[in-house]
């Protein structure tokens, strides 16, 4: 107990000492710095940059180009590898070149709508981001500098109708981005593993499991015995493949996102990915719904008519809220974990003033690394729990939809 208290006191002294040192030694001039994201380190901005989806796959200083498939209504389709932008090593690839009016801004492809910008491959000077007021809301707008002039950059179109600050812009992005590439990798890996394991089961029938079977069999049996069979009763064999696919795909994506120094994928922490998973679940549940299920949704038996007028809208709403919570739960849990890790690492740059205070940087990096390591081990647990929760909830919705009447 005494040891614990002592270590807490030491830790807090250490942290406050760093704080004092920071205030004492350095006075940052509050001039043009506020506009430039290169010098003043913003941990929140850095965290959001690192969890977002990119058009290059960057591992350490290397940028692996990914195919860009872009469509602008005025110029038509264009397909090229993101290597044509010649991305720089810092900021995960801000491009040195513009190609067909597309520019790479911190790993994300953006488009110049201005018709006076040249449409061939040209050298650009810089890409800057400024905060501006757009329709009464603060928004980050990027500009590309070329020939001494600044051109506004459009972000890709999104289908959120402006809720998350997106909307329809001058181009559409259908690229194989970092997340898509990661998903393909995970899908191929899972296919390879499961085909191999299935073959071993056939060859070694009646013998003890071997190799990767030892890892997969308990997991598979756990989901089968704890989720599929209790929830779905005698219909479990029909829905077992779907639930297993969900579980292992989500688990694979979650764990893939936990690999440090491997591009920092955040696949299940992307709202679009979890939305597709939830929509698939929504269709599977509702297309398999029997007469009994629809009766309970649309005209609940056994309650007075005036209660039905309230119950029916609520039931129809809950039909859509169920997949929405599935989507948000997975997204929020994974994104929260990634942001916390990114912020812990960002603390090094906050206390070390982006490398200006070397001692503070080294000191904080020890604490930050310990905290980040703790979070990462917690995240491995979360990866399993969230995959399990997604599967168990899908199973419970399926069981409600396929239950036979018994009253």
């Amino acid at each position: 107990m005494l040891k614990k208290i002592l270590s807490i006191i030491l830790l807090s002294m250490f942290v406050f000492g760093l704080n004092a040192q920071e205030h004492g030694s350095h006075e940052s001039p509050n001039g043009d710095e506020s506009h430039d994201s290169h010098h003043a380190f913003d941990p929140a901005e850095s965290a959001f940059h690192h969890i977002s989806n990119h058009n290059v796959y960057s591992i350490g200083p290397w940028n692996i180009p990914l195919p860009c498939i872009l469509y602008a209504p005025e110029e038509g389709w264009s397909m090229f590898m993101s290597g044509v932008f010649e991305p720089s090593a810092e900021h995960h690839g801000t491009g040195h070149k513009a190609y067909k009016k597309y520019v790479l801004d911190k790993g994300i492809v953006k488009h110049v709508a201005d018709p006076s910008f040249p449409s061939e491959e040209v050298e650009i000077e810089d890409v800057v981001t400024r905060e501006e007021m757009v329709d009464g809301k603060k928004k980050d707008v990027s500009y590309v500098k070329y020939n001494g002039k600044e051109y506004k950059l459009d972000s890709k179109s999104t289908m959120d109708g402006g809720v998350f600050g997106g909307g329809i812009t001058s181009f559409y992005d259908f690229s194989i981005t970092k997340n898509v590439a990661g998903m393909m990798l995970v899908a191929l890996f899972l296919m390879w593993v499961f085909i191999r394991v299935a073959r071993t089961y056939k060859e070694r029938e009646g013998k003890a499991p071997k190799g990767i079977q030892n890892f997969l069999e308990p997991l598979f049996l756990f989901i089968q015995d704890e989720v599929t069979k209790p929830f779905l009763g005698d219909k479990w064999e029909k829905y077992n493949p779907f639930l297993m696919t969900l579980f292992f795909f989500i688990l694979g994506l979650n764990l893939f996102g936990q690999i440090p120094f491997f591009g920092g994928s955040n696949i299940t922490g992307n709202l679009a990915v979890t939305m597709v998973l939830a929509i698939v679940t929504f269709f599977v549940v509702n297309l398999n719904g029997n007469k009994n299920y629809w009766e309970h949704v649309l005209w609940m038996p056994g309650v007075p008519a005036w209660v039905k007028t309230i119950l029916t809208p609520v039931e129809i709403m809950s039909m859509f809220i169920k997949p929405m919570t599935l989507m948000l739960r997975l997204f929020a849990n994974i994104v929260a974990g990634h942001i916390v890790i990114a912020i812990f690492i960002g603390l090094i740059f906050v206390f070390g003033k982006s490398g200006q205070l070397v001692g503070a940087s080294y000191g904080t990096s020890i604490v930050s690394m310990l905290l980040a390591m703790f979070m990462m081990s917690l995240e491995i647990l979360v990866a399993f729990v969230q995959a399990y929760v997604f599967t168990i909830l899908t199973a419970s919705y399926l069981s409600a939809a396929t239950e036979e009447a018994h009253h």
């Binding site: 704890e226 209790p230 929405m324 919570t325 599935l326 948000l328 739960r329 929020a332 909830l393």
Partner: protein, 69 residues
Amino acid sequence: MEHLSVAAIGMGLVVIGAGIGIGNIGAKAMESIARQPEAIGDIRSNMILMAALVEGAALIAIIMAYLIG
């Protein structure tokens, strides 16, 4: 900025509510496991299911607060 702080307070309240709810679920589950250790499997899966449902309501409120704020 004022919007943001109100939304932040809302998020805090949501987390308090969800914390109480999930805490109750966990406490009762522990109690039941202590009383009937042989039913640990059923209790665990039902506990996670209930916690997930509570969490779902909290998440919707948090996202709403984020969008409004």
